[in-house]
Amino acid sequence: MIYKIFKKELIDTLRDRRTLMTMLIIPILVFPITLNIFVNLSASYEKSATKETMKIGIIGNKKQYLADELNEIPEEMGNKKLIFFRDSISLFRSLQNDSIQLGIVTGNAFDLQLKTMFPAEVKWYFDASEIGRKERAELYMNIIETKAQEKRYTDLQVDGRKINPFNTEYINVASDKKMIGKLAGGILPYIFIAFGFIGCMYPAIDLFTGEKERGTIETLLTTPVSRWQILIGKMLVVILSGLVAATCSLLGLFISIEFLNIVENQELLKIIHEVLSFSFIATLFSLLIPLTVFFAGVMIPIAVYAKTFKEAQSIITPLNIVMVLPAMIGFFPGIELNFKTACIPVVNVVLATKELIAGTLELKYLLLSFSVMILLAATSVFVSFRQFGKETNILN
């Protein structure tokens, strides 16, 4: 009987355009489209940022130390044009109206400080809300400073290496896979959770509130099928829809990585391919299936209680934030899977996936997370059953 209910509800659901959009089309297309736009935009920005001619304002005449040094920097390091000002007031005004992009102000004793080998005071002014300006100022100043430093070593007849007592290197022993897992591994379960929730939403409302609103539930309840069988048959469709939506979003992400060349770094690409193994996907699904059951178990009592599609939608939509918010906790670096976090639903799934990608997942925590999610899923199914059994809920 459950299979008969499931089959009919699945056919009905697959013919609903709204469900198809949220279950298949949007999850598949969202990543290829957004990532493609993002990659193209950032590439075109980078191109235009290096081509952009920076107008650099300097107080004083053309014959001065910093102007000479800047003019010597080759154009390959970025196009530039020097503009000379009589005073700082006119320089700042030009900075504010963007007729110059960088402004240099030196101290009164600049030449003397240079000559007497004291640190010479230089201030670069720029608008930090415009990306790339600070970077250009730092690039130019590093070149000028390195050259000045070498000149001082020569003048003082000192070996530069003797000035620095240590030659320190900070070496990261974590593998790239671990780094990716710990820092960016949270995104995968986050995507799955967000789309899994949205994928469950419309079928849950349509199959429970919708059936009540359309007046079809009464007939179904007069057939020799028990209520728990009806509930389970419908619930399986809701769970499947959530899983399909989440899988489609991952498929979309995979298509973006494989065919849209959004990851140019070959090492990173190799790690991503390593991560997306069969065992990884199987473990991920073992955590996400109870989570999707839990989502369905949360939505169904609301859908059963609500009298109209709109009412159900207005309660379930904000719930999305409540469910997805814990998933964001997993993004914070430093939060690890332990006995405490393994007991927090949603958070445990995100953290377990991060550890799984990083290759540092401990079996005891995986089992604890899995048990917590199973317990929660079972509770939510029980609550759904209680709600669906109430006479006052099932008929308007």
């Binding site: 013919r15 007069t222 057939t223 099928v225 028990s226």
Partner: protein, 252 residues
């Protein structure tokens, strides 16, 4: 055969419902200790104004609601103890019944036949018989959402009768239908009677009751105000017409 004895149904009122009904009572007696008997081969009518308790009574007979007290026997089965067994014997049709708009008539009929566990051969025979009887063959593969009200009503009838039920329950079946579409229902009720099925239907239209029923019960505020055969009702009436007599009984 339907045997109803001392049947009652209470609903707990929410605060909102108490406000709407302007009452301090936390319990509403939708049906209050009613008893009646419907025989095979005859049509029993449950007549009453809106909110009288007709739908609640029929929903209890169809095992959608569980009674607070009393007993229901459907074709010899205790419907409270064995609701699933009782449902196998029941066909249920209401005026407000909806159909799955994204499915076709044939899919709906097959779905319900499978829920009633109708064997394949019997299913095909019943489908053929009902499709021809109701003249449905032209729109069997069209989606319900694209059908007219009359066509949908035919699908509902077919869905109700696919498992050849012994007992047929109609809850205001002609409500909201035009006279031509309502005629399909009238014909169905007559056919059921001819086939020796037990038929109970609720209505608030006296002319419809006069046309079809053999026995009737007038229900008001959950209580039965009058019960007997239609012929006795006609003989004993004080007012000049059936509707006026119905109003007199309800208001007495």
């Amino acid at each position: 055969m339907i045997q109803v004895t001392n049947l009652s149904k209470e609903f707990t009122l929410t605060r909102k419902q108490r406000k709407e009904l302007n009452t301090e009572e936390s319990i509403a007696n939708a049906v209050d200790n009613i008893s009646f008997n419907c025989k095979p081969g005859s049509v029993f009518s449950l007549l009453g104004p809106n909110g009288a308790g007709k739908t609640t009574t029929l929903r209890m007979l169809a095992t959608i609601y569980t009674p607070t007290s009393g007993s229901i026997e459907i074709a010899g089965i205790d419907a409270i103890k064995y609701p699933q067994e009782a449902r196998k014997k029941i066909g249920f049709l209401t005026g407000s019944t909806g159909l799955y708009a994204r499915l076709t008539p044939i899919e709906i009929i097959d779905y319900f036949a499978s829920l009633y566990n109708v064997p394949n051969q019997q299913r095909e025979e019943r489908k053929k018989y009902l499709f021809e009887l109701l003249n449905m063959n032209d729109f069997l593969n069209k989606r319900i959402g694209k059908l007219s009200t009359g066509m949908k009503q035919k699908v509902s009838i077919c869905r109700t009768m696919i498992h050849d039920p012994e007992v047929v329950i109609f809850d205001e079946p002609t409500s909201g239908l035009d006279v031509i579409t309502a005629e399909n229902i009238i014909k169905l009720i007559r056919d059921c009677k001819e086939q020796q099925k037990t038929v109970i239907f609720s209505s608030h239209i006296m002319s419809e009751v006069d046309l079809l029923c053999d026995d009737l019960a007038i229900i008001h505020q959950g209580k039965i105000k009058h019960q007997g055969s239609m012929s006795d009702f006609r003989k004993e009436m004080i007012e000049s017409n059936l509707t006026a007599e119905f109003i007199r009984i309800v208001q007495s």
